[in-house]
């Protein structure tokens, strides 16, 4: 396996690590400044000692993400860089996030109609009712509330259950297993066990649905793809696993961290409260600023040039989303959080053919959850100093584990 580039002088240097821990949960790790100091593309070292390219420049990040032929997402391939031990077990889960076109495109097209702007628009009244019920319960219980389990997690969890046709009564199980999958510090063995438990659960659910069909997306896939042989059972389980895990854990993090970011930027929160038309733009700015997915991995399939460096076939490439979103050339005064910025070209959902399929659902959930929470609890404030909030580990979905608030 090609483990280093031929950028010879770099071999003698001590390289910065990727990933690194965030100090403030909505800011990139301070250690990533060292990448940018070396230019938009630089060498970093992974946990296992492998040297890969870190892409911090926005233009270079787009270049990589738009070129799926040169920069592969094939997780099964040994050249695909695992940024944490748990990614070694993710290699065995085969769905479109870890495939290249044309294989990727066949699976993605099976799902397209379920995530259009119009389909998501139709889900909004249901999301609004759910958000209102959760806030009713928070008010009834009284302060202090932990907004992670009481609000940020159940919103996307209930919504993805209804969309897929997964019983929400099983949420404690799949939320716990999902956390083992997406937490940066989960060991190889632990993440493999979590994947196996989720796959076994979903396999059982799909078999039950074959006997007693419901009206969720999984039921549609069973009827249209599994029964026709377009997907085999293992494919369907692995797709269901991706949609279930990615469908709740990332958005849960984004809602909790969105609340914290707005509370810690009171002038921006005041601007948003004064003008509701700012809401969609404010959500885009939160997405850019927080970069819940810290980075994504690719590997070069051919010798190529990137940001003035010679990248060799087999080299690992990490697109550092949290850095690229703070590139001053793409976003003037990029480190400023500005709900009126009006910039939509962040890469928090990725870019290219793998850009998040659930992005419009995530936007709708964030818009409704954040606007309703701040409207109904106008005195909302932290119940603990923000510096005490436990920050999620590097190498996974970024965010906070708890968000105690009062009002």
């Amino acid at each position: 396996m090609t483990e280093t580039s031929t950028a010879a002088p770099a071999d003698a240097r001590e390289l910065p690590a990727y990933p690194q821990a965030r100090g403030c949960p909505y800011q990139p790790p301070a250690g990533y400044d060292a990448y940018r100091d070396q230019g938009p593309v630089s060498l970093v070292e992974l946990y296992n000692g492998r040297r890969v390219w870190a892409v911090s420049g926005h233009a270079e990040a787009r270049q990589v993400l738009l070129d799926a032929a040169t920069y592969s997402s094939d997780r099964v391939h040994p050249h695909y860089p695992a940024t944490a031990p748990r990614f070694e077990s993710a290699r065995k889960v085969r769905n479109f996030i870890g495939m290249d076109p044309p294989e990727h495109t066949v699976q993605r097209r099976m799902l397209l109609t379920n995530f259009t702007v119009r389909k998501v628009q139709a889900l909004r009244p249901g999301i609004q009712r759910l958000v209102d019920e959760l806030i009713d319960a928070i008010e009834a219980k009284g302060p202090v509330a932990d907004l992670v389990p009481d609000f940020a997690l159940p919103v996307p969890s209930v919504v993805i259950c209804e969309l897929l046709g997964v019983p929400y009564t099983d949420h404690a199980f799949f939320e716990q297993q999902s956390r083992r999958v997406v937490t940066g510090t989960t060991s190889l063995e632990d993440s493999a066990d979590a994947f196996a438990q989720l796959a076994s659960y979903l396999d059982g659910l799909i078999r039950r649905k074959e006997q007693e069909p419901g009206d969720g997306l999984l039921d549609t896939l069973i009827a249209e793809q599994l029964s026709t042989g377009a997907l085999n059972r293992r494919d369907l389980v692995d797709i269901a696993l991706l949609l279930l895990v990615a469908g709740h854990e990332t958005t849960a993090s984004a809602i909790a961290l969105g609340v914290l970011t707005l509370l810690e930027n009171p002038e921006q929160l005041a601007a948003l409260r004064a003008d509701e038309t700012l809401l969609p733009g404010a959500v885009e700015e939160l997405l850019r600023y927080m970069a819940i997915a810290d980075g994504v991995a690719r590997f070069a399939t051919v010798d190529t040039e990137l940001g003035g460096h010679q990248v060799k076939a087999g080299d690992g490439v990490i697109v550092v989303i949290s850095s690229a979103n703070r590139d001053d050339e793409a976003f003037p005064a990029a480190d400023a959080f500005d709900v009126g910025r009006g910039a939509r070209h962040h890469i928090s959902f990725g870019h290219g053919v793998h850009q998040c399929i659930g992005q419009n659902l995530a936007r709708a959930e964030m818009e409704i959850a954040l606007s309703t929470l701040f409207r109904r609890l106008p005195g909302l404030r932290l119940a603990e100093p923000s510096g005490q909030l436990p920050v999620k580990e590097p190498g996974g979905v970024q965010g906070i584990w708890r968000l105690p608030v009062t009002w």
Binding site: L112, T113, T116, R118, H345, V353, Q355
Partner: protein, 64 residues
């Protein structure tokens, strides 16, 4: 100048619909539909170039 869309490349992210809802929609299959393809004047061209740049699958373009 006009908008050209390639439904074979489109992967249904919906960025065009969010960015320029007066010009783009999505079909029942989830791929891009152009509502009005004429691009008149530099302001419209600049606005739609931004929209084109947002498309993750390079399925839309401006053509003379």
């Amino acid at each position: 100048m006009h908008i050209k869309a390639d439904t074979q490349r489109c992967l249904g992210a919906g960025q065009c619909v969010l960015s320029a809802p007066d010009r783009f929609d999505q079909s029942d299959e989830g791929t891009v539909l152009v509502l009005e393809d004429r691009v008149d004047g530099p302001a419209e061209e600049a606005r739609l170039r931004d929209t084109v740049a947002l498309c993750p699958s390079q399925a839309i373009a401006l053509e003379a």
